[in-house]
Symmetry: D2
């Protein structure tokens, strides 16, 4: 099941074409995955305190329609793959008032040791929560 | 031949992992294509004055290595396809001091009429310049 | 009475000192005044549709304490002066969980005709709403 | 003598009023003071490696004129006060092609120990450089 977060478009999110600048959606994907992890009981702050960082390896976005100042957006985040070493998410950003899909996208992050800089495997403390999240996604899919 | 632009990493470009925040590279791809077009004699300002906008349709980035405050980056932009209706570019962002490739990416924009909001075909005034750019890319490739 | 808006600090709001980058609070003052105006029944979009823009003339901020990723902030906006030609606001940004005042500030904007670029006087349609807002501020002060 | 840095206005620096968003100038003041310190032989990276951070305590900006996509700006930074515990700068941001002063401003930062979080005094290693910078400012003023 996707985790859904709202974002109200700020004036400073727009550019001289009077629409939201496209790089902002890449930032909002981050809001989406942060909220997804929070819904599983994981916060980035706790990961960092434990010595893990989570650099992004790839991101892609397809832009279907523009959004404007004052639009209310829904950031819909779905887990694609959550393992001890990486997390992949897909995103849909919708305009709340009519449900139009504005942007779709995908990201991949890897868990890395802050100390060594190398990819590392998350301990059970975190992995159990991630696995539970992915299990829910699979159930949601098989039911739909 | 790629067009190369320098960017000196600002403190405000970094995040709490003490590296450049990944969404900034998407902004810097924009710097790259603006400079590419400028090298062909086309400015976005002139396009907009003539009633054209150029929404982005897709962007993707692969992150190979981090960069840090004070790094000097090279944004290398190459035309992949330049037609009357769209322009596709590929990017490489390198660290200047050792040539390491940090980020690679791709983008696609379409030319759109500001008045109608529909995709439109650029007039010869612009297209001749774009075609010349692509011709140079092809020559550069066949020579290499 | 101040208008209060929440902002949840995003990872991309932080910098390499692991705190929120100071320029972001200037952006969040904007969120504050947008919400203040909305509470009075005025939206920036409507102003722009009517040919008014509202360039900022001055801003200042004092930083008392840092904030961090995942903090929930309260943006408290109070009208200082609202006339047909300008609007001045003061701001306090607080950390929600303990009420600590992190940033205080001030801004001044002037109403300008998009057509002429000159400072202009707002028509009654808007001014009546602004005056009502300021009246409430004064009452709130005299009661306290 | 002011240290002068160029900034070429990016498309992503603009907002829906088709001018540079005002919060960006606050970021560019940072570019100015970074370059000022660099001119004295001090880099923020070295300060941080030595355990010093330099939180901003206040910033203010007055906006005189707008700037637009593709404008080349000059960021002029002058030291106002440089002591072992704080640094104050003033800024002027000008449009290069006609010298118009667009924004003027001021900032104050304090040197803080990363370990204790308290204001601290810079060692001679840095202070000698700062003092030399301020001496040059004073000479420049008395000569003018």
């Amino acid at each position: 099941m996707p985790v859904v977060t709202e974002h109200h478009v700020n004036f400073y999110d727009t550019d001289a074409m009077a629409v939201v600048h496209h790089a902002n959606y890449i930032r909002w994907f981050e809001i989406g995955r942060v909220e997804y992890l929070r819904a599983l009981g994981i916060t980035l702050g706790e990961l960092m305190d434990d010595g893990y960082v989570f650099p992004i390896i790839e991101v892609e976005a397809k832009y279907h329609e523009s959004s404007h100042f004052d639009d209310v957006l829904l950031i819909e985040t779905t887990a694609e793959s959550l393992t001890r070493v990486k997390m992949a998410f897909t995103y849909r950003i919708l305009r709340k008032n009519d449900g139009a899909v504005l942007v779709t996208g995908h990201s991949l992050n890897v868990f890395t040791s802050q100390e060594t800089g190398h990819i590392t495997r998350l301990p059970d403390k975190y992995y159990a929560k991630l696995r539970e999240g992915l299990r829910q996604e699979k159930n949601a899919k098989s039911e739909s």
